[in-house]
Subunit: 371 residues, 2 copies
Amino acid sequence: VINASLLGVVREAGKHDAIESLYGARFGIDGILAEDFVDLSIQPRELVEAVSRTPSSALGSSRREVTKEDLQRLLAIFERHNIRYLFYNGGNGSMGTAWQIAKLARDRGVPLQVIGIPKTIDNDLVETDHTPGYASVARFFATAVRDIDADNRALRNQVEIVEVLGRNAGWLVAATSLARVKDDDGPHLIYLPENKLPLHKFLTDVETVYRRFNRCVVAVCEGQLDEAGEPFGADVRGGSRGALAMNLGHRLAMLISQNLKLRARSEKPGLLARASSLTITDSDWREAYDVGRFAVASAVQGETGKMVTLIRSSETPYEVTYGLVDLQKVAFIERIVPANWITSEKNGVTNEFQAYALPLVGEIPALPRLN
Amino acid sequence: VINASLLGVVREAGKHDAIESLYGARFGIDGILAEDFVDLSIQPRELVEAVSRTPSSALGSSRREVTKEDLQRLLAIFERHNIRYLFYNGGNGSMGTAWQIAKLARDRGVPLQVIGIPKTIDNDLVETDHTPGYASVARFFATAVRDIDADNRALRNQVEIVEVLGRNAGWLVAATSLARVKDDDGPHLIYLPENKLPLHKFLTDVETVYRRFNRCVVAVCEGQLDEAGEPFGADVRGGSRGALAMNLGHRLAMLISQNLKLRARSEKPGLLARASSLTITDSDWREAYDVGRFAVASAVQGETGKMVTLIRSSETPYEVTYGLVDLQKVAFIERIVPANWITSEKNGVTNEFQAYALPLVGEIPALPRLN
C-alpha cells in the first residue's frame, strides 16, 4: 500500500500554495543522490489513483546504507533544487535516515522540513499502533495458511511448513493464527522469532501434533533461530538489514524427514506475500492514504523531524486517528511482539494478540466442510 | 475446482432415478478400501454449493499405488454395497486406476460403470483440450509473477527466481508468459521441463537479461533438469508420481550468486498455488461443474470405461463442449507442451502457446506505472 501513501501526499500537496512542485525520488535515496526525479505534479490524476492500488513502490526502493558524505550531498541537492519538504517512507531504518537528515539540516540552518511516513509489512515500528502494509500482508499469510491447511487435510500424512516474512519480528507469522477456527485447523504450531527454538523442542511439538491429527501445519518466521542462535543450518545471506536465512522452511522440512521419518515439505510465498495484488485490504489502503495526507498537512503547519503515527482511538468499532512522534524515538528501533502475547509453550499466540490483529486484518472466514 | 465437479455429480445424480444413493469416498481410493464413505445424498444443498467454491478436495485425496489385490477388494466392495457407478476424479494416474477397475469389472462380469472426471492443475492429460484446475492455478502463477516483477523492478539489482508447479510438464510455467506486456516486463526467462537446461546456458541467459535491464525475473518449473538429467543439485524426494526436487528455485538462486556474483533469491509459492482460494476463475469452476454433470449423464446413458473430455468448439468467443474418450487412451500418459510452442532459444513460449492459454486463463492486466 506504499503507493496509497504516495497518492495521499500528491493529493494533499496539491491543496497547499506553499508547495509549488512535487518530485518523487526514483529508487529512494539513490534517486535523490542521482537527482533522478519524477515530476509528480504533472502525472495525470487518474494515473496516480490507479497506481495507488498497485503493490510495490511505484517510485522504487533502495538498499543503500547512507554515509556521512551522502547526508552532506543530500542537503546540497535540496538547497540547489529549493526542496523545502522531504517525505520519507519506510521502516525503522528509513526513519533513522530521515532523522539524520532532519538533524543535519537543523544543525546547518538549512530550511528543510522532514516528515517520516511509516510503511513496513513487518509492523516493527515503535510508537505507532501498527504500520501501513502490515494488514494486507498479514491477510495474505493468514489466507494462505488456511488454504494450505485445506490441502494438508485432504492429503493428510504430511507435515507442511509455511515460511512467513518478518525478519526478527513475529507480527506476520502470529497473524496466521487468524486462520484457526476449530481445534483441528492449522496452523497447529506458530513460531515467533522473538524466542529461540531448540531443534528438539520443534521436533517434539511436530510429533505431538502429528500423532493427534495425522498431519501438521507449521507457520514459521523466516528469521527463526535455534538454541544456538543459528538458522538450523539454512543458507544465509547478508544485507543492509543484517543476515537472513534464505531457505529456512525447506531446511526444517528436511530435519523433520530425517529425524521423525515423516513426509514433510515447505512452501515459501516469500516476496509474493508483500507484492501480491490479491489481498490489499480497504482499511490498510485507506490508512496508508491518510498517513500520506497527514504527513503533508503536518509539514505545511511547520512540523519537522517527526513520523506520522497511527493511534487506535476505538476498539469497537475499530477506529484510528493520526499523530506525530519524534523521528529519534523510532529511528533504528525494532518493535517485537510482547512476550505475554505468546503462549507459554512458545508455539502459538494468546487472545491478546488476536484482539490486536483481528480489527486490522479482518476475519478470515473458515472454509465450509462436508458433514 | 475439484469440488465444483463434486457439485456437478451431486446435482446430476439427483435427477436420475437409476441412482438411489450417492457416496463420496473419503481420501479417494483409500476411502473405498476402508469403506469410509460420506453420504452425499443427505448433505444440505447449500453446503455442497458452498463447498464447491473451496480449494482442495473436500473428500480428500490419496497417494496410494493401487495393487492387484486392491483391485479385487474394490470390486468386492462395490458388489457388497450395490455400487453400480464409479466416478473417478484426477489426473493420468487416476485415469489409469479407473481404467484398471473398469477392465477388471468387465472381465469379471461385475455390473459397474466407470467414468473418469479429469482434474489436474498440471494440464498433462492427453485427448482433452485442457483439464479443469489448470486455468485457476495458471492464473495464480501469472498474477504472482506479474506482482513479483513489480517488486523486482522497484528494488532492481536482483535476480528473482519463481518456482512453478507442474512436475514434468511446462503448462503452468508457460502460462506466466501472460504476465508480460512490455519488453522489460518479467518473466524475462521461462524454462519448461520439456527441455533439459544446461547450467552454462541458464547462467548466460540470466547474465544477458541482467546486463540489459539491471534485473531479471525467471520462471522455472519445479521439475526442470540440467544437461545431466539432474535437478542442479537440489534435494529430491521420491513419491508415487516419481522423484521431484524440493528446493529447485533456491538451488538456482545459489548457483547465480556463486557463479555470476549477482544478488539472487527465490520464491516458491508451492502448494499455495493449487490451494489458493484467491484465483479460482469463473470459467474453470463452470467447466469443472459441467464435467461432473456430463460424467453422471454419460454413465446413466450406459457409458463406461471413458473419461470426459473438454473440446474447444470455438476460438472466438472461446467455447467448450464435452465428449468422451476411452480411459485406456489417457491412462498413465503425460501430455507435454508441443516443441513448436517453445521458442528456439528454449527460454520462452511462442504466440501459439499464448493463443491456447489466454482464453483459459484470461487476460492478466498490466499494472499501471507512473510516466
